[in-house]
Point group: C2
């Protein structure tokens, strides 16, 4: 059977969110939360616009998904995010008890894997989905930013 709703399908949507961030001059990271293959949250990094270090794509997605569901636990949900979550977002995902995390590019320096952030024991995590595209938009952003300064 053809399965149109795979990880690549939803990561493409997260990448569209990253592009929206890029267009606003924000570090381009995008996130999607799904439940039973239905998108219930789509967000992107807004730290510059909101002047708020807590406004990462994942944080907003957790808040939006909980709001949609009317409950704060996301056990049945999957997060798609273009960049491996940081300690803050990993910590928030721990509290949310999210079912699954799918990330695109690794963040070797500040990602939750390198920094050993503890996830909920029931949370599965897979990475590397469209990693090249997810990484490329970040590289492009930082090169452009350097050239403007």
């Amino acid at each position: 059977m053809i399965q149109p709703f795979d990880d690549i399908y939803f990561m493409k949507k997260a990448l569209q969110e990253a592009q929206s961030a890029y267009d606003k001059g924000e570090v381009p990271v995008g996130a999607i939360i799904t439940v039973q293959n239905k998108v219930i949250a789509r967000t992107h990094n807004l730290t510059e616009m909101l002047n708020d270090v807590t406004a990462h794509a994942e944080m907003q997605a957790i808040t939006a998904a909980a709001n949609f569901l009317g409950g704060k636990y996301l056990n049945e949900c999957t997060l798609y995010v273009t960049l491996e979550p940081c300690q803050m977002c990993g910590g928030a995902l721990f509290w949310s008890q999210i079912g699954k995390i799918v990330y695109g590019a690794r963040d070797e320096q500040r990602g939750c894997i390198t920094l050993g952030t503890k996830l909920h024991p029931k949370t599965k995590m897979v990475g590397g989905i469209l990693a090249e595209e997810c990484s490329e938009i970040l590289k492009r952003f930082f090169i452009e930013k350097r050239n403007l300064n």
Copy 2:
């Protein structure tokens, strides 16, 4: 010279916030952010009311302080929080580059010290200020909650 604005003075204010959380049926943790001994944010845990695992006292305090200052970095600020920050809040404090963290009670199980959350290299942290009072209100909350269920 008498110094009325010491860590105990501000931790008492954080404890008042914890009491506000308690009165609403929220896990009683309170936070204050100061700059040059002036309170610029006072918040308490609102995870139940907002149905949002990200609504810890510290997260709201970071957002409120940045909003007050008009900039997202809190290098000159001190956070007073009644309970040792978790991974999420520790991660947010990392991004905020906050100058100093003063906590009351240790969180041996889920605190950022036990879990090894990385703070900004310039952030100082001290703990144990009014630890007993900060811990007592939490114990009282959980005992009461158990008795109600």
